[in-house]
């Protein structure tokens, strides 16, 4: 099968959906001729024109709010939020307006919009361009949250998100934009709310989110050399969360380590760990474990930044101790 980058996968998903549905348009900062700073959207404005690939001023709350109103009146806007850290700027429009409109109107109004943004540290971008803030939106009822772990997921989830009748926030790991994966040429969708068992194993389950799937795979390779078999579950979306697939895996392996790049405290990893503890407790042979980013603002210095996020070595070490009964 052909391999394309995550960046190309996103570009393809948007182009395919825009060809299919005239009500879709995209707006954000430097999305048209510039194609975003990451060059993800290059070529789209040439095909769809500036009426559908719309450059906005640097006004995140403003264009997020405009997307909400456009979505309520029959459009399907895709908002490009240049950095996940800018979510704090759009929280009212996303969480007070988009998330609640369907419920507050008793089901009469829909907000079919997608907000694409990114996450991920170790790009030496310091505290305001490195955060992984998916927990914040996952906490708000009414928002769906997708966390693609490769180019394949990025394309299939984004296409489903665009067709969904709800506001969907999709976080792309900005360090993965040039990572290649097998992506079919023919059309496919990945449903929101369906986890994927990325690797089967018997001794421990890694529930790994977004780029943490790669970390988990490296750790699993290292464990295999020690004769330890790790299973990897990629939830793909954290809202809705495919609890069943996670619980079935933990019941089989009897151990779990949740790996996520959001800050560990009060994070998505805490939520998944709690659900496992509540619903699979009697299947467990070791304490439920989680690993997130350290509870510090992301530092600039590479010597410090690399300490803040989960690594394959740390995941391997914790898993090995758990399987050996040392925890």
């Amino acid at each position: 099968m052909r391999e394309i980058t995550l960046s190309q996968a996103v570009n393809e998903a948007i182009a395919e959906e825009m060809r299919r549905d005239e009500t879709i348009f995209l707006l954000g900062e430097d999305v048209a001729e510039a194609g975003t700073p990451f060059k993800i959207l290059s070529g789209l404005v040439e095909e769809f024109g500036t009426d559908r690939i719309i450059d906005t001023p640097i006004s995140e709350p403003g264009f997020a709010g405009i997307a909400v109103g456009a979505a309520m009146t029959g459009s399907r806007p895709i908002v490009d939020l240049m950095f996940g850290d800018f979510l704090f700027l759009v929280m009212d429009q996303l969480c007070n307006q988009a998330a609640k409109t369907h419920y507050m109107s008793g089901g009469k109004l829909n907000v079919p919009m997608v907000l694409r943004t990114n996450m991920g540290a170790t790009r030496r971008s310091a505290a305001q361009h490195s955060q992984s803030l998916h927990t914040l939106v996952a906490h708000i009822p009414g928002l769906k949250v997708a966390m693609p772990s490769s180019a394949y997921e990025a394309k299939g989830l984004l296409k489903s998100a665009i067709r969904d009748n709800n506001p969907v926030v999709i976080f792309e790991d900005k360090l993965m934009y040039q990572d290649k994966a097998e992506v079919p040429e023919e059309e496919f969708l990945i449903p929101l709310g369906q986890a994927h068992v990325k690797r089967e194993g018997s001794d421990i389950t890694f529930v790994a989110i977004s780029s943490m799937v790669q970390i988990a795979e490296s750790a699993a390779d290292m464990l295999a050399a020690d004769g330890i078999s790790a299973e990897i579950v990629d939830p793909r979306t954290i809202v809705p969360l495919d609890e069943e697939t996670i619980l079935n895996s933990v019941k089989k392996t009897s151990r779990v380590l949740v790996v996520d790049e959001g800050h560990q405290s009060f994070g998505v990893s805490a939520e998944i760990a709690a659900r496992v503890a509540e619903k699979a407790f009697y299947y467990l042979d070791s304490p439920v474990m989680r690993m997130g980013a350290m509870d510090v603002p992301i530092p600039f210095s590479p010597a410090l930044e690399d300490l803040t996020v989960p690594t394959a070595e740390r995941v391997y070490e914790l898993a090995r101790q758990a399987v050996r009964g040392e925890i």
Binding site: F25, D51, T56, P57, S59, P61, G62, F63, A64, G65, I66, A67, V68, G69, A70, A71, M72, T73, G74, S75, P77, D92, Q93, N96, Q97, T101, H102, Y103, M104, S105, G106, G107, K108, L109, N110, P112, P141, G142, K144, N165, N166
Partner: protein, 326 residues
């Protein structure tokens, strides 16, 4: 008051009726609060009727509005019915939002009301987005964004006015200056000229007596026609006054405004009284006609309140429906 170029007797009487419907709705809502029959609080529109009616009478059903926490007037003026509105205020299943929105989130999508909003200035983006849809579809629809003078402090408004001007969107920003944001006078919260804010973006700004329904209607008709031709956006400052406090529980108000000031607006500038007098003077209606309209609307409101009080609450299994759309 001056006759509108395009209006006829029927239009005038409908404007009168709609203003009376708003006042009557609010009197009943206030009573429901005072007798502890309504959950929560509500914000009265009384005194500002000429703004909502003058504007909405210049719109088609397919045009959109966005509303505010003080939104009952906009909702009535855009075509909503008493029964579903009172049901919503009382949290009943037959309310416009099945009781899930309440006073501060009432929406009536069928009549083009995209909803009240409990975040001050929070609907500025929504209104501008609705106008973007209209422009893209080329359907000629216009959106009116209602907001109060208090919203002039919100940055979102300026971000979206900038984009509306850059993209020539068919949206009218209607600033209802009722002089008070909560308990503070506009002069303490908004520096400079209100319309100057819009003019800085190259948006034409107008100021109109918000107690004169004909003046409001005439101006809105002109701006709507121009917006439909792609000449928008526009900004209107409508000078008006809220008779009640910030909300129904705001009873003692002398620390922020005098009783004399309140009396002056009610006695001399009431939009319904003054328009009624004009209708009589112009021989469009006589005093008995107007009394009959008032009595009929009062009876309709009483019936709707009785209906809503007896109507069922939503069943418990609706608590988690409508979180997500299918």
């Amino acid at each position: 008051m001056a006759k509108n170029v395009t209006a006829n007797s029927e239009d005038y009487l409908r404007m009168y009726r709609q203003m009376v419907r708003i006042r009557t709705f609010e009197d009943n809502a206030n009573q429901l609060y005072l007798t502890a029959k309504m959950p929560g609080l509500t914000h009265m529109y009384s005194g500002q009727e000429a703004v909502a009616v003058g504007i909405c009478e210049a719109l088609e059903k397919t045009d959109h509005i966005t509303s505010t926490h003080r939104g009952h007037g906009h909702c009535v003026a855009k075509g909503a019915e008493f029964k579903e509105m009172f049901c919503e205020l009382l949290g009943k299943a037959e309310g416009y939002c099945r009781g899930k929105g309440g006073s501060m989130h009432i929406a009536d999508q069928a009549n083009g009301n995209l909803g009240a909003n409990a975040i001050v200035g929070g609907s500025a983006g929504i209104a501008t987005g609705a106008a973007l849809t209209a422009k893209r579809l080329g359907n000629g629809a216009v959106t009116v964004c209602f907001f109060g003078d208090g919203a002039l402090g919100q940055g979102l408004l300026y971000e979206v006015m900038n984009m509306a001007a850059l993209w020539k969107l068919p949206v009218i920003y209607a600033c209802e200056n009722n002089l008070y944001g909560e308990y503070t006078h506009v002069s303490e919260m908004a520096a400079g000229k209100l319309g100057g804010r819009a003019e800085a973006f190259g948006i034409e700004a107008f100021e109109v007596d918000g107690q004169d329904v004909l003046a409001v209607n005439q101006l809105t008709q002109e701006l709507v026609a121009r917006a439909r031709k792609g000449e928008g956006p526009f900004f209107m400052a409508l000078n008006t006054y809220r008779y009640h406090g910030h909300h129904v529980g705001d009873i003692n108000r002398t620390y922020y405004r005098s009783k004399e000031e309140e009396a002056d607006w009610k006695d001399n500038r009431d939009p319904i009284t003054n328009f009624g007098a004009w209708l009589v003077k112009e021989n469009i209606a006589n005093a008995e006609d107007l009394d009959a309209i008032q009595a009929e609307i009062k009876a309709a409101a009483t019936n709707a309140v009785t209906y809503a009080l007896d109507a069922p609450y939503p069943p418990a299994d609706e608590v988690d429906s409508h979180v997500f759309a299918a």
